[in-house]
């Protein structure tokens, strides 16, 4: 049959498959494994610097949460974290703290611990050098986000993991919403987004169908599609922060556990 198999699920990209790598050739498909394989950030190629920068831009908040939970004031945490990322992206010497380069999450925390340990011994003067093209950390929104998460008594490492999970969800959620908005389906997204948090909800399919001016059957299909796409984007985003050979489902489970645990 002509192209009948275009629909076969084998054709669908598998976000959970391990990134490709070659013997000795260091090819990788996920953002983090690309960066990790390149060696010291910034040294080999600009494209990797861009990738590292993008990853940091997405995931700076958990580092901030860690710094705050360890006792730094909001202002101090902001300076420290800003300095860290500047150093990491521009100079890359901090990256040597974690030669193993496991997943991005553990790498980032290890580097930060190393960096802040050194910073404590120094005067604040050398903290910021340049930093013109590192993204600015917004102190106030960061504090609000911290408050939003709850869990004020958590130990810093756990706070970091929880913040990471939240950041991941937010990134994926925003991306998914943008897809729907781009397709002119913003209203559909707004109405159905609660289905991303499970089955229970204040509204039934019937009620939603009324709001959207469509049939219940169409709503069911739309919910199914939305969840499907969400799952795909979620796994792809996670996979982007993993190193070669690591399993997305494991990381997903791990992050779930960090949110499910009560402090």
């Amino acid at each position: 049959m002509y192209t009948a198999d275009m629909t076969s699920p084998d054709n669908v990209h598998d976000a959970s498959h391990a990134p490709l790598s070659r013997r000795g050739a260091g090819f990788a498909t996920t953002r983090w494994s690309m960066v990790a394989a390149a060696g010291v950030p910034g040294s080999d190629s600009d494209r990797h610097e861009g990738a590292l920068g993008a990853l940091c831009e997405s995931y700076w908040f958990p580092i901030y949460a860690f710094a705050r939970r360890r006792g730094a004031s909001a202002q101090d945490a902001q300076d420290l974290v800003q300095g860290f990322f500047t150093r990491l992206i521009e100079k890359g010497d901090v990256a040597n703290a974690d030669p193993e380069r496991g997943r991005f999450r553990t790498f980032l925390l290890a580097c930060f611990k190393h960096y802040s340990a050194n910073e404590r011994e120094r005067d604040g003067a050398a903290k910021r050098g340049g930093g013109q093209h590192v993204f600015a950390l917004d102190g106030i929104p960061a504090e609000e986000r911290l408050a939003n998460e709850g869990g004020g008594e958590l130990d810093p490492e756990r706070a970091f993991e929880r913040a990471w999970a939240h950041t991941l969800l937010e990134t994926v959620f925003v991306r998914l919403r943008a897809e729907y908005e781009d397709a002119g389906k913003a209203a559909v997204f707004v109405e159905l987004k609660d289905s991303l948090a499970g089955d229970g909800g204040a509204h039934t399919h019937g009620e939603r169908a009324q709001v959207l001016g469509t049939t219940e059957g169409a709503v069911k299909v739309a919910v199914h599609r939305l969840r499907q796409r969400y799952g795909e984007l979620l796994r792809r985003e996670i996979s982007d922060t993993l190193a070669t050979g690591e399993d997305v489902e494991d990381e997903l489970r791990r992050l779930f556990e960090s949110l499910a645990k009560k402090s």
Partner: protein, 455 residues
């Protein structure tokens, strides 16, 4: 503590502001963890598929016969050109794609380039355009089988593989000479027609529907979307330096394809070379290494060269021994044993079940443990034995990420009763991508034993 709203389902605090306001994070993660999707309700109309009547109305000069395919890029209909009396394929691109501002212009450019290709190994584009906000292509209709199907059925041997890829190379080289790069060569895009000829489909379409501008903020989005091409077959530069992509990316894809045809698996991780498994000698190894080279500068530079080297092999001894040797052997799989991994919605949705299902002495034997995500301990293993006579049927269903599920139905409502997540008379077992082939074999084996005809 301030009065933060609490999630009804799990008790977690729900943020009142920020992007995730009103959304419960643990519940979202749990939802994300749901394995293969709950299937769409049967019979529900797909709001994204236009009714056939609409298509017929919009394309009056075609006799639209039936919808024959559905992919990431759009829908394919089989149709007949009334005046010319010939069968064609009408491909209608997904409307979502057309929202990008420069789409119309790019469509015109790419479709013109595709239409210029006229070669026995390439499916011809007869016409293209836009009608009622739908972009479409009218192409030659090929009654053939995608390579993917042939590979799955085990119908190709080593010599076939070499010959096929060589033909594909001829077509690809011709297109490259005309300035068109395919960008999405994979077994689904190559058809074998009834006379054994090879026809390549969707030349250049990936470029049309994707966007390669890495500076474009949409790029990260598109990387996640299906239309960007299958990662397994994509050359490294297609992923991280898309603007530098040229015809050598197709050579890479051809290499992956050749490898998969000869070895029965994708060249992923530390992968063995053909000489390690088959007595074919080093020449194929060398050719594969040349095609799979990450650095385009060190890769075999043209499809034509790849094809020529494969042709040279065909006359050599290695091909003689390759002939007649089936390649899709699936060496280490055991047809009657399958590991599975379920997340359960019972126990507050925080438990996971994993185990092994085996066919053993006329019984279906399920051995499993549960793991409670809150406390991280594994319970003692549980067992369930069901005589095969009590099993009505088994159905295999691919899941979204390449994993899948097996649905087992029992003869009575209480068969499988003790298994978690059971619904009257049936259970589902989910498994990961690595076990797809095992799952298919398992299904086949069980169906054979319980006397069901394979579907």
């Amino acid at each position: 503590m301030t009065n933060t709203p609490i999630c009804q389902a799990c008790g977690a605090a729900i943020p009142a502001n920020g992007a995730l306001s009103g959304m419960c994070a643990p519940c979202m993660l749990r939802q994300g963890m749901q394995g293969p999707a709950v299937p769409a309700p049967a019979g529900a109309a797909d709001p994204n598929t236009p009714p056939l009547a609409d298509i017929r109305r919009d394309f009056p000069q075609l006799e639209i016969l039936e919808l024959v395919g559905r992919g990431g890029m759009g829908l394919v209909y089989r149709a007949r050109q009334r005046r010319l009396g010939r069968d064609v394929a009408l491909k209608i691109l997904t409307p979502d794609l057309a929202h990008r501002p420069d789409f119309a212009e790019r469509f015109l450019r790419e479709a013109q380039a595709m239409a210029k290709l006229s070669h026995p190994n390439i499916v011809t584009v007869h016409d293209f355009g836009e009608r009622e906000a739908r972009y479409f292509l009218v192409m030659e209709y090929v009654d053939g089988t995608p390579l993917r199907k042939l590979m799955e059925r085990g119908q190709l041997d080593g010599a076939d593989a070499l010959g096929l890829i060589s033909q594909v190379c001829t077509g690809v080289q011709y297109a490259h000479d005309q300035g068109v790069v395919h960008r999405d060569i994979k077994p689904e895009n190559i058809l074998m027609d009834s006379s054994g000829g090879v026809r390549i489909v969707d030349f250049g379409l990936a470029r049309l529907v994707g966007t390669e501008d890495a500076a474009n903020p949409d790029w990260r989005l598109t990387r996640s979307s299906q239309v960007m091409g299958t990662p397994h077959y994509m050359a490294p530069e297609q992923m991280h330096a898309p603007r530098s992509v040229d015809q050598r990316a197709d050579v890479y894809s051809l290499g992956v394809l050749l490898y998969e045809m000869l070895m029965g698996e994708l060249p992923v991780g530390t992968f063995p070379m053909p000489s390690e498994r088959h007595p074919w000698g080093d020449q194929i190894d060398e050719i594969l290494r040349g095609a799979l080279e990450s650095d385009p500068a060190r890769r075999i530079q043209s499809a034509g060269e790849l094809g020529a080297r494969l042709d040279a092999l065909s006359t050599a001894d290695s091909a003689q021994s390759a002939a007649g040797r089936p390649v899709w052997s699936g060496v280490e799989e055991i047809a009657d044993r399958l590991p599975f991994n379920n997340s359960s919605d019972s126990w507050g949705g925080l438990a996971e079940i994993y185990g092994l299902v085996t066919i053993d002495e006329g019984e279906l034997f399920l051995e499993y443990r549960t793991r409670d995500c809150l406390d991280l301990y594994s319970s003692a293993p549980k067992e369930l034995r069901i005589p095969l006579t009590q099993v009505l049927d088994i159905e295999f269903k691919s899941g979204w990420f390449g994993g899948g599920e097996l649905r087992l139905r029992g003869r009575t409502m209480s068969t499988f009763m003790d298994f978690p997540g059971f619904q009257p008379g049936s259970i589902r077992l989910y498994f990961k991508r690595d076990y797809v082939r095992s799952a298919k074999q398992f299904t086949g084996e069980l169906q054979r034993l319980i006397g069901t005809r394979t579907g």
